[in-house]
């Protein structure tokens, strides 16, 4: 553990990434306290005002303060990122552990399911599913999670295949421990490191997906602010209000970049050999 901290501290880019990650979380939590304006209060006298001292990042078509909307948008983006990655990891861990531990027909079936899910271009699948559902933050989280577990499943399976041959597992089996207990108490804790890295790298991918959906108008619905839907509204005012298009995108870029730097830093600090196995297992779309 100490070696881990030492290695992480030496990686300056990862540290910067980590600081931004923490800072963003703080901004999102504190949004109601630090937002200078009510994010949903329209003002007809201030439609599409350019950035100024009063509105640092300008106002939108309804005269709402862009900076305040972006603070609240951070809440949405981060929440979607965390929850959907949580869902994806849970499914991935359960299926990957089952496949890796039991092997044989169970393994073959689960892995074919993984192959199958990977054949679908993700955005087409997401859109098809969303067409049948009422779009809300919750459906977005669920849908992104349900279509993004395949990488974790593969990873966990590979770890299980390696670990289940180790002596401590064979000993537990010999004293009659149940499969459930061996999986959860003995193997999984030893397989968690790469999973945590994959989760850290999965959050930015989920944020990109959410903002893409919201940009199309199929994600988080107005009046709730999300970086993607501010950009969607900005698109219509592209010739006058450049600030509506520039700042939210910059926020997404910065967030995703920091999470990636931080995640890869953790990975290298945990074990440089992981570089091979945990590449970018969470595809963009």
């Amino acid at each position: 553990m100490r070696a881990f901290w030492r290695a992480l501290r030496r990686n300056r880019l990862a540290l910067v990434g980590g600081v931004v990650v923490v800072g963003l979380a703080a901004l999102a939590i504190l949004a109601p306290a630090i937002a200078p304006w009510d994010p949903n209060r329209p003002d007809v006298k201030k439609i599409l005002d350019a950035p100024s001292g009063v509105h640092p990042l300008g106002t939108d078509q309804l005269g709402r303060d862009v900076l305040s909307r972006m603070f609240y948008g951070a809440r949405v983006s981060l929440a979607v990122g965390f929850v959907s990655v949580g869902i994806a990891s849970l499914i991935g861990i359960v299926l990957g552990a089952t496949a890796g531990y039991h092997g044989g027909v169970v393994d073959a079936t689960i892995m074919r399911l993984v192959d199958l899910m990977l054949v679908f271009p993700r955005f087409f699948l997401l859109l098809a599913v969303l067409a049948f559902l009422r779009p809300s933050i919750w459906t977005i989280m669920a849908v992104i999670g349900l279509t993004g577990w395949m990488g974790v499943a593969r990873l966990v399976r590979a770890e299980f295949l390696a670990i289940k041959e180790r002596e401590f597992v064979i000993w537990s089996q010999s004293i009659g421990a149940s499969a459930f207990r061996i999986i959860w108490r003995h193997i999984l804790p030893n397989a968690m490191a790469p999973v945590l890295v994959a989760m850290t790298l999965g959050i930015p991918a989920a944020i990109l997906t959410e903002s893409g959906l919201s940009f199309l108008g199929l994600g988080v619905q107005p009046p709730h602010a999300s970086w993607g839907n501010i950009l969607n509204e900005g698109k219509d005012a592209i010739e006058i209000g450049w600030w509506l298009s520039v700042y939210p995108g910059l926020a997404i870029l910065l967030t995703v970049l920091s999470y990636n730097l931080f995640g890869e830093g953790i990975r290298d600090a945990l074990d440089p050999r992981l570089r091979q196995s945990v590449g970018r297992i969470v595809t963009r779309r």
């Binding site: 074919r112 199958l116 199929l218």
Partner: protein, 330 residues
């Protein structure tokens, strides 16, 4: 070679059936009434009507196995029903019109990505930690983090609005019919420039990274040492011995990243108003045109499957070890 291809083909059949099954499950997400989409203000029909049409189209009032069997037999005959939109044209026809554009875009993107990523990857791997390597590493991280729709907006503001150099929507100018043949091609290329630039950006970052990684592993191998030891010029060692081996995993990665690339068409096509499958999909979702949505989903994923299959067979073609290995394992 032939046997290997055949084997892969047989393995693809269960996946094909799986595609139809997952799509079938998607239809059943409809909770009682097909979701009332708040954004779908454009929808022409009421929920009741849509529901009636859906029940009729997919036999939702019959037992599940009957439903699935009917759905399967229709897909095999490529019958996706008629669009719910007022024109009520067959779905297959609508998709057929838009498929070539999307295919063209994706193939051009792939070619550009490979043509640029390979030299970038090789160059930065052979000069690890040089200035060039560091700059490309930064580019890779930024490329991964840039939302493609945002990049598209920025480029539209810059080239379309501020400079006015490039058209920002559609495939042809309004006066297209009056242009000479070469002018028409030039006009078409101008319309494709920004969409292709946006679509290649993210992919390029990923691929040059893979190429660099793959090259770094290969140059450490013993056979590269021996090639150098027997006095071959560095150009031949890198350009022939190392490059050929480093390219192998790229074929697989290319196949695996296809769904991502095709999925990206949704964003690019809807921003630049390009009449391809991605734009059709978005329109269909807003209009709750379910037959078009389902047809799109099945066709796009089947195409991806076919492309993956081609990548696999190509891989076995360039790397004989795969074919032999497959035979031995049996």
């Amino acid at each position: 070679m032939f046997l290997y291809a055949l084997r892969r083909l047989l393995l693809a059949i269960p996946l094909l059936i799986g595609i139809t099954f997952i799509s079938f499950l998607v239809i059943h997400l409809a909770p009682g009434t097909p979701g009332e989409i708040q954004t779908g203000d454009l929808s022409i029909q009421s929920d009741k009507e849509i529901q009636k049409l859906l029940i009729e189209l997919y036999d939702l009032d019959k037992p599940l196995h009957v439903q699935y069997w009917k759905w399967l037999t229709r897909i095999v005959r490529l019958d996706f029903g008629k669009s719910f939109s007022p024109d009520a044209r067959p779905v297959l026809q609508k998709i057929g019109e838009r498929l070539p554009v999307t295919l063209l875009l994706n193939i051009v993107e792939m070619l550009i990505i490979v043509a640029l990523a390979v030299p970038i990857g090789v160059y930065s791997a052979t000069r690890q930690y040089s200035m060039f390597d560091k700059v490309t590493t930064v580019f890779v991280f930024v490329g991964f983090a840039t939302p493609d729709f945002w990049l598209a907006l920025l480029l539209m503001i810059l080239f379309g609005v501020q400079l006015g150099w490039l058209p920002i929507s559609g495939l042809r100018s309004l006066n297209w019919e009056y242009l000479s043949f070469w002018r028409q091609q030039w006009d078409f290329a101008g319309h494709l420039f920004l969409p292709i630039l946006v679509a290649t950006f993210g992919g390029l970052a990923g691929f040059s990274r893979y190429m660099r990684q793959s090259m770094l592993e290969v140059v450490r191998q013993d056979y590269i040492q021996s090639a150098r030891a027997k006095g071959l010029p560095e150009r031949v060692v890198i350009g022939k011995h190392a490059l050929r081996n480093a390219m192998l995993p790229i074929v697989t990665v290319l196949g695996l990243s296809l769904p991502g690339l095709i999925g990206g068409s949704i964003i690019v096509e809807s921003i630049f108003a390009i009449p391809g499958m991605g734009q059709l999909m978005v329109q269909a979702v807003f209009e709750r045109d379910y037959p078009v949505i389902m047809g799109n989903l099945v066709i796009v994923s089947t195409l991806t499957l076919v492309a993956n299959l081609l990548a696999d067979v190509t891989y076995s073609f360039v790397d004989p070890r795969i074919r032999v290995g497959a035979r031995r394992r049996r």
